[in-house]
C-alpha cells in the first residue's frame, strides 16, 4: 500500500481547474487520489489545513542555481531546497554557469544533480549562443534532445538582431521551444548602476534609462513577428515594455513575459542608502513603472512571476555599490512578497497570483506535471500556505546565499508544506531532506 497523505479542509485555489473552494485532497504515493469534501482515508497521515490555502506547486521560470562553477554561492541541491521552502516544485535553471550550459553535457549534469537532490524538478535552460558570446549559435537541437525547452543568454542580451532572428527561426523546428531574452541594450546599459531619473541624479550613480530595455523589447518583438518564433521576455521592468508587449499580443505575436517580485515591490527610491542587496539587473525603476507592472500582471500582459533568484557571496555584496554584482535571492520570499504587496492590497486577486506563479510558467515551459489542475491521477506537486502568518525576512536562509532585497522587511504568508511528487519535502515550514 503506497503512503497516503490527507490534506484536510484547505481552501483549494487551483486556477487551471479552475477551482477556489474548501476541500480535502488525498495523496496516494506520488499522485493525487481524490479531491472532495470530508474525505476519509485509513492509515493516511492527516494534515490539518484549516485556514490555509492549497495551491499547485509553484514554478519558477528564472532561477540561477550557480552549479557548475559557483558552488560557494549555491548548488543545485541548496537551490532546490530553497525552492521547496519557498513552495516551488519546479525551477528553470539559467544557463550562465561556468561552464555555460550551451551543450548537452552540462544540461545532463544539472539534471543528474537535481535528480540526486530529489527536492523539486529542475528544467535546465540552454544558452542561445556558445559561451554566451552573443555571436555563435549553440547546438540547440542537441540540447532539445537532452530535454531543454527554454533557451536564454540571460545575464545579457543576444547582441545582434541577425543572430536572434536566426535562432528564433531555427528553434521553430522543435516543438514547444521558447527563446527567453534578457532585454538590455548594451551600449545604453554600460557602466550603469541604477534606473536613470531623479534618484540616480541625486545619488550620483550612472543611470540606465528604461529605454535601454524598451529598444530591445521592440527589436525582439519585431523579430518574433518576422520569424513567427516564440519569444519570452525576462524580468520586464519598464512601463514602456509592458505597453509594447500588450500591443504585440493584441497583434498576434507569440510572446510571453515575466516580472520579478522585487520589481513589483521596490523602486529606485529605495536605493537612497546604497543598499547593495537592492542592486539588481534590470534596475529597480520608478513608481510609475511599478504600477504598470502590476497592471500588466493583472490584465495578463505579463504572464508569469519569476524570481530571478541570483545568489551572490557575502563579500561580493558587502562592497562598494558600483563593484557589487547585481542580483537578489528570491525563492524563499517570492510568494510572501506577492501576497503581501499584491493580493493583500488588492492589486491582483489570489487566483491570478497563483496562476502567474504556477500555471502560467508551467504552460510556457511545457511542464504538464506542474501548475495544476489538482485532480485525481495527476502528480502531487502541491503547496500549502498560511496566508496570514507574518514573518521578518532574516538569515539564516535555506539558500547558500543571503543577498535578499527583502532583508529586514516583514512579509505575510508562509509556506507550511510542500509536496513534490507526493513526498513531503517541506513540513511545517522546514525541509525534511
Amino acid at each position: 500500500m503506497p503512503e497516503r497523505i490527507l490534506l484536510q479542509r484547505a481552501r483549494v485555489v487551483d486556477p487551471a481547474a479552475p477551482r477556489d473552494q474548501t476541500a480535502d485532497v488525498l495523496v496516494e504515493g506520488d499522485r493525487v487520489a481524490e479531491v472532495g469534501e470530508a474525505l476519509s482515508a485509513t492509515d493516511a497521515e492527516v494534515l490539518d489545513c484549516r485556514d490555509m490555502v492549497l495551491i499547485p506547486g509553484l514554478v519558477d521560470m528564472h532561477t540561477h542555481l550557480r552549479e557548475p562553477g559557483r558552488e560557494d554561492k549555491e548548488t543545485v541541491e541548496t537551490g532546490c531546497r530553497a525552492a521547496a521552502v519557498g513552495g516551488y516544485t519546479a525551477v528553470a535553471a539559467m544557463a550562465n554557469t561556468d561552464p555555460v550550459a550551451d551543450n548537452a553535457a552540462v544540461i545532463l549534469e544539472v539534471r543528474s544533480l537535481a535528480a540526486a537532490a530529489n527536492l523539486c524538478d529542475v528544467v535546465p535552460v540552454g544558452a542561445i549562443t556558445r559561451g554566451l558570446n552573443g555571436e555563435d549559435m549553440a547546438e540547440i537541437g542537441e540540447m532539445v534532445e537532452a530535454g531543454v525547452r527554454m533557451f536564454s543568454d540571460d545575464g545579457r542580451c543576444v547582441l545582434t538582431a541577425r543572430l536572434l532572428r536566426n535562432a528564433l527561426q531555427y528553434a521553430r523546428a522543435f516543438d514547444g521551444v521558447v527563446l527567453a531574452e534578457h532585454c538590455e541594450d548594451a551600449s545604453l546599459a554600460e557602466g550603469t548602476q541604477m534606473h536613470e531619473g531623479g534618484h540616480s541624479s541625486s545619488l550620483g550613480l550612472p543611470g540606465q534609462p528604461r529605454e535601454a530595455e524598451e529598444v530591445i523589447v521592440a527589436r525582439d518583438l519585431a523579430l518574433a513577428r518576422l520569424t513567427s518564433g516564440r519569444l519570452h521576455v525576462c524580468h520586464v521592468s519598464s512601463s514602456g515594455s509592458v505597453a509594447l508587449i500588450r500591443q504585440a499580443k493584441a497583434g498576434g505575436i507569440r510572446v510571453t513575459a515575466e516580472v520579478t517580485p522585487h520589481h513589483l515591490v521596490f523602486t529606485d527610491e529605495d536605493l537612497v542608502t546604497y543598499d547593495t542587496n537592492l542592486k539588481v539587473n534590470p534596475p529597480l525603476r520608478s513608481q510609475e513603472d511599478r504600477d504598470a507592472l502590476w497592471q500588466g500582471l493583472a490584465d495578463g500582459t505579463i504572464d508569469a512571476i519569476a524570481t530571478d533568484h541570483a545568489p551572490h557571496a557575502v563579500e561580493e555584496k558587502e562592497s562598494e555599490f558600483d563593484q557589487s554584482p547585481p542580483g537578489t535571492i528570491g525563492l524563499e520570499t517570492a510568494l510572501a512578497a506577492v501576497l503581501t504587496h499584491g493580493v493583500d492590497v488588492g492589486r491582483i486577486d489570489l487566483a491570478r497570483a497563483i496562476e502567474a506563479m504556477s500555471s502560467a510558467p508551467a504552460r510556457i515551459l511545457g511542464l504538464a506535471d506542474h501548475g495544476g489542475p489538482i485532480a485525481p491521477g495527476r502528480l502531487a506537486n502541491l503547496t500549502v500556505v498560511d496566508p496570514r502568518s507574518e514573518w521578518m525576512v532574516n538569515p539564516p536562509f535555506t539558500s547558500r546565499s543571503r543577498n535578499s532585497a527583502f532583508l529586514g522587511r516583514t512579509l505575510r504568508g508562509r509556506v507550511v508544506h510542500t509536496l513534490y511528487r507526493g513526498g513531503l519535502v517541506v513540513a511545517e515550514g522546514k525541509p525534511t531532506r
Partner: protein, 322 residues
C-alpha cells in the same frame, strides 16, 4: 547634528549656520604663530583616501592637527588595499585601532554609507564618486557668505559637467537649503535628469545667465568626456561654456568667480580670469581648513569650546576625560 557627514542633505539650515559660525571662530587660529588649539587632543582622525587628492587630504590633515588630534593618513598605494583588502576589512582594522573619525575619499558613490555600517566612529565624506563632496560645498558657502555677507537670495550659476560633479551636487543642495537661487549651466548631456527636484534651474546658455549673477562657479571638465561622446570636443566645450574674459566683462560688479580646483586653465576658465581679484579660488582653499576644523569639532562633539574662550578649555577638557 548627525554623527556623520555623508551628504549635505544630512544637515538642516541651522546646522549649516552653526558650522559656518564655528568655522569663523576657528579661522583665527590659522593666523596665530602657534596654529593649534587642544579641542581634539587625544582623538584619532584617519584620512582614508582611495583616490589621490592632495589638496583635500592636506586640508583635512591640517584641520585635524590644528585641533591637536592624532592624524593617520591611509592611502591606497602601498597599503594592504593594494594587496586586495576589502573596504570592509580596512574599516574594521581602523575601527580596531580606535579611529574616532574616518575621513573617506573614494571613487565609488555611496562608499561612505557602507563605511558607517562597519565602524562606530564618525564618517566624513571627503568626496565619493560622482555623488557628493559636502565639505567642499560648505567651504564654498562659507566663502560666499564671507564675501557677500549673505546667502539668501543670491544668484549662483554652477557651470560645467554637473552630471559627473560631486561638488555640483553638494553645492546645489547647500545653496538651495540656504535660500540661494541656483542655475545649473552646461550642455544637456552633462546635466543630470530631473534636477528640477533639487530646486534649481537649468540653462544651456552661459551668456544669458552671466549678467544676472552674484557668483559664477566653474566646474572642472575632464578630457575623457570627449571620448565618451558627451561633447564633440573639449575645444567646442570651452568655446560654449568656458569663462572667458569677454564673459567676465558681462558679470555684474562685485560678482565672485569660484572654482573647486584643480583648474584646467584655458579650458573651463581662461588663465587671466583665474587670476582676477574677484576670483576667490585661493580663499576657498584657505577657508577649507577652518570649515573642516569646524566639522571635525562639531561631529566629534569637541570636548573643548571653540577658541576665543581659551580660559575655559582646560577645565572642560578635564571634565570630559572623566
Amino acid at each position: 547634528m548627525n554623527k556623520h557627514l555623508l551628504s549635505i542633505n544630512d544637515l538642516t539650515s541651522e546646522d549649516v549656520i552653526r558650522i559656518l559660525d564655528t568655522a569663523d571662530s576657528f579661522r583665527e587660529v590659522g593666523t596665530r604663530v602657534i596654529k593649534k588649539v587642544p579641542a581634539l587632543r587625544g582623538r584619532t582622525v584617519v584620512n582614508l583616501f582611495y583616490e589621490n587628492s592632495t589638496r583635500t587630504r592636506i586640508s583635512f590633515e591640517l584641520a585635524a592637527k590644528r585641533l591637536s588630534a592624532d592624524v593617520i593618513n591611509f592611502s591606497t598605494g602601498g597599503s594592504s588595499v593594494a594587496k586586495g583588502e576589502s573596504l570592509k576589512d580596512t574599516a574594521l582594522t581602523l575601527q580596531a585601532m580606535g579611529a574616532d573619525a574616518i575621513v573617506i575619499r573614494h571613487s565609488s558613490s555611496g562608499s561612505p554609507y557602507a563605511l558607517t555600517r562597519w565602524v562606530h566612529g564618525s564618517v566624513l565624506n571627503a568626496g565619493d564618486g560622482t555623488h557628493e563632496h559636502p565639505t567642499q560645498a560648505l567651504l564654498d558657502v562659507y566663502t560666499i557668505r564671507e564675501r557677500l555677507g549673505r546667502l539668501e537670495g543670491i544668484r549662483v550659476a554652477i557651470v560645467g559637467d554637473v552630471l559627473h560633479s560631486r561638488v555640483a551636487r553638494s553645492l546645489s543642495f547647500a545653496l538651495v537649503k540656504m535660500g540661494a537661487d541656483v542655475t545649473l549651466v552646461g550642455p544637456p548631456t552633462l546635466i543630470p535628469p530631473d534636477v528640477a527636484a533639487w530646486g534649481v534651474q537649468v540653462s544651456h546658455d552661459v551668456d544669458a545667465v552671466v549678467p544676472k549673477l552674484d557668483v559664477c562657479y566653474m566646474l572642472r571638465i575632464q578630457r575623457e568626456r570627449q571620448r565618451q561622446q558627451y561633447v564633440p570636443s573639449v575645444r567646442e566645450y570651452s568655446r560654449l561654456f568656458g569663462l572667458t574674459t569677454r564673459r567676465v566683462a558681462m558679470l555684474p560688479e562685485g560678482a565672485l568667480i569660484m572654482h573647486p580646483g584643480p583648474m584646467n586653465r584655458g579650458v573651463e576658465i581662461d588663465s587671466d580670469v583665474a587670476d582676477l581679484p574677484q576670483a576667490v579660488i585661493e580663499e576657498q582653499v584657505t577657508n577649507g581648513i577652518a570649515v573642516r576644523m569646524s566639522l571635525l569639532y562639531l561631529l566629534l562633539g569637541g570636548s573643548a569650546p571653540p577658541p576665543g574662550r581659551a580660559e575655559d578649555s582646560e577645565r572642560e577638557e578635564a571634565g570630559a576625560d572623566a
